[in-house]
């Protein structure tokens, strides 16, 4: 039985889709069988980021409404064999997502895959609540700035009340993924500090993804950053995040503070 992960944030533009694609690809690169499901009906983007936009025939809404079989709608990635995409519909609207339909699709995907990654739309309306409803684990994507943090806090509240797990009295496992972290701006004090974000949201940190041109370049290429440039800083951060997601206790390094840390380390040795 696979694990269902929802990648959510409340606020738009913080990197949900980029992170869904990168984490999905990173897991698949480790040999896991992964499907990434785009819940952003009407504003789909995941197919672009994963470079599958020219191969979309059927989508999530078709499957839910019984117009296509799940196997017909799934798109297999050309670069990684175990990575699949279930695209969203661009022409329908969110009202076509029904709770029962989503439940059926998720249950079927859980049987066939190790990881089901649900890329949630922004906002707190139907699309977002349905994306999180059947999840086992939530990844809350947050930028180190106040509006994003507040929206994430709101989403965490919904994760604790509006999901099946919460309604059954269980605890939803939540992780914070801090994205678009800019070391130079952090140094100038233009961004919220990592500790402040963690203090406000009080959920465990899955990783810090540095703001990087590599991410934009990868998106334009139609490849998750972990596939486009495995050695880049954001790709390595996503690979580390995946290791933590799988339960490994790996300390999180704050980008930009690395040098400071080693500096201190060597400094102490020299003294």
């Amino acid at each position: 039985m696979g694990k269902v992960i929802v990648v959510t944030s409340g606020k738009g533009g913080v990197g949900k889709t980029t992170s869904s694609a990168a984490l999905g690809a990173a897991l698949a690169q480790n040999g896991e069988k992964v499907v990434v499901v785009d819940f952003d009906v009407g504003l789909r983007n995941l197919d672009l980021v994963m470079g599958a936009e020219r191969r979309v025939v059927y989508d999530l809404v078709n499957v839910i409404q019984g117009e296509a079989k799940l196997t017909q709608a799934l798109i297999r990635d050309k670069r990684v064999e175990t990575l699949y995409l279930l695209p969203a519909s661009q022409t329908r609207d969110k009202d076509n997502l029904t709770s029962e339909g989503v439940e059926k699709v998720i249950a079927a995907l859980k049987k066939a895959f190790d990881w089901v990654i649900c890329d949630s739309p922004a906002g707190i309306e139907r699309g977002a609540t349905l994306a999180m409803r059947h999840a086992d684990v939530a990844i809350v994507v947050t930028n180190p700035e106040v509006s994003s943090v507040r929206d994430s806090d709101r989403i965490i509240g919904l994760l604790d009340s509006k999901t099946l797990k919460a309604e059954n009295g269980e605890r939803m496992e939540k992780h914070l993924l801090l994205t678009r972290y800019d070391p130079t701006r952090a140094e100038r004090g233009d961004m919220l500090k990592v500790d402040d974000v963690l203090e406000i949201l009080s959920i465990p940190l899955l990783g810090i993804i540095p703001e990087s041109m590599d991410v934009l370049r990868a998106s334009n290429l139609g490849a998750p950053v972990t596939l486009a440039d495995e050695g880049s800083a954001p790709a390595r951060a996503y690979f580390d995040a995946v290791r933590r997601l799988k339960g490994e206790a790996l300390p999180v390094t704050v980008p930009g503070e690395k040098r400071g840390f080693f500096g201190k380390f060597f400094g102490r040795k020299a003294a």
Binding site: I124, V146, R150, D151, D153, R154, I156, G157, L158, D160, E199, I200, S202
Partner: protein, 244 residues
């Protein structure tokens, strides 16, 4: 015999009744009442009236005569307040107690009289106040209160072991204790409890209020920010003090 015995249903209900307070001598007071009735016919029609005889030195016969005089004027007395038990016979309206004062009822002017006649005879009033003898209820929350969440506990105190996020709201009938950072709104003593207080380990609140008196973040002293603070109410408004 009943095959299906159905329980008798008893329900509590409160209504707004007019309270008439007659004055001695009754002849003069009744003349005044007649004058009012002449100006607005049917003012007392269908209205439940409680007779308040508190402090009047009268005997049983006088009270009985007053009730009869009133019923002749179409004033139906549903109960008598403030009378000694010895004044009330079995054929008299029952004694009323525990009435709560409401706003004064103005006799209608002539133009309003017709409307008043059609107005509904009874109005429900708010539920009775909290029982005095009960210990203060309290609610302990061991998780952070998230943005968009509203914690509503009119019964008493709220203690939060964690933070209250920006955009979250805690409303308590009693005091509010936050063992964390208070970033959202805290409204204490909302059921009219001016003795309620707000305590927090770190003040970053958007709004604090006690019994309707409030302070927004802008109005708070800047040097309170980030400090452990308590807030209480004095006659001239909210007071804040740094703890420890």
């Amino acid at each position: 015999m009943l095959t299906k015995p159905r329980p008798i249903r008893l329900k509590g209900r409160s209504f707004l009744a007019l309270s008439l307070a007659p004055e001695l001598p009754f002849e003069d007071w009744l003349a005044g009442l007649d004058d009012l009735a002449a100006r607005s016919a049917g003012f007392f029609l269908r209205r439940p009236v409680v007779l308040d005889v508190d402090g009047l030195d009268i005997d049983k016969a006088e009270l009985r005569k007053l009730v009869d005089d009133l019923s002749q004027r179409n004033v139906r007395v549903m109960g008598i307040e403030g009378a000694r038990p010895s004044l009330l016979g079995a054929d008299m309206p029952p004694a009323m107690s525990d009435g709560r004062p409401a706003s004064d009822f103005e006799p209608p002017t002539e133009s309003e009289a017709d409307e008043a006649q059609d107005a509904p005879a009874v109005e429900t009033i708010a539920a009775a106040g909290p029982a005095a003898a009960q210990p203060t209820a309290s609610l302990v929350v061991t998780e952070p209160v998230r943005s968009g969440q509203s914690l509503f506990f009119p019964e008493g105190d709220v203690t939060i072991v964690g933070s209250v996020a920006s955009g979250a709201e805690v409303v308590a009938g009693g005091s509010i204790h936050v063992y964390g950072t208070l970033r959202g709104r805290a409204l204490a003593g909302t059921t009219g409890n001016g003795a309620a207080r707000i305590f927090c380990r770190k003040l970053e609140a958007e709004l604090i209020a006690i019994d309707g008196f409030y302070l927004t973040a802008e109005d708070m002293e800047p040097d309170l920010r980030g400090r452990a603070v308590q807030v209480w109410l004095e006659s001239n408004g909210l007071k804040t003090g740094i703890l420890g």
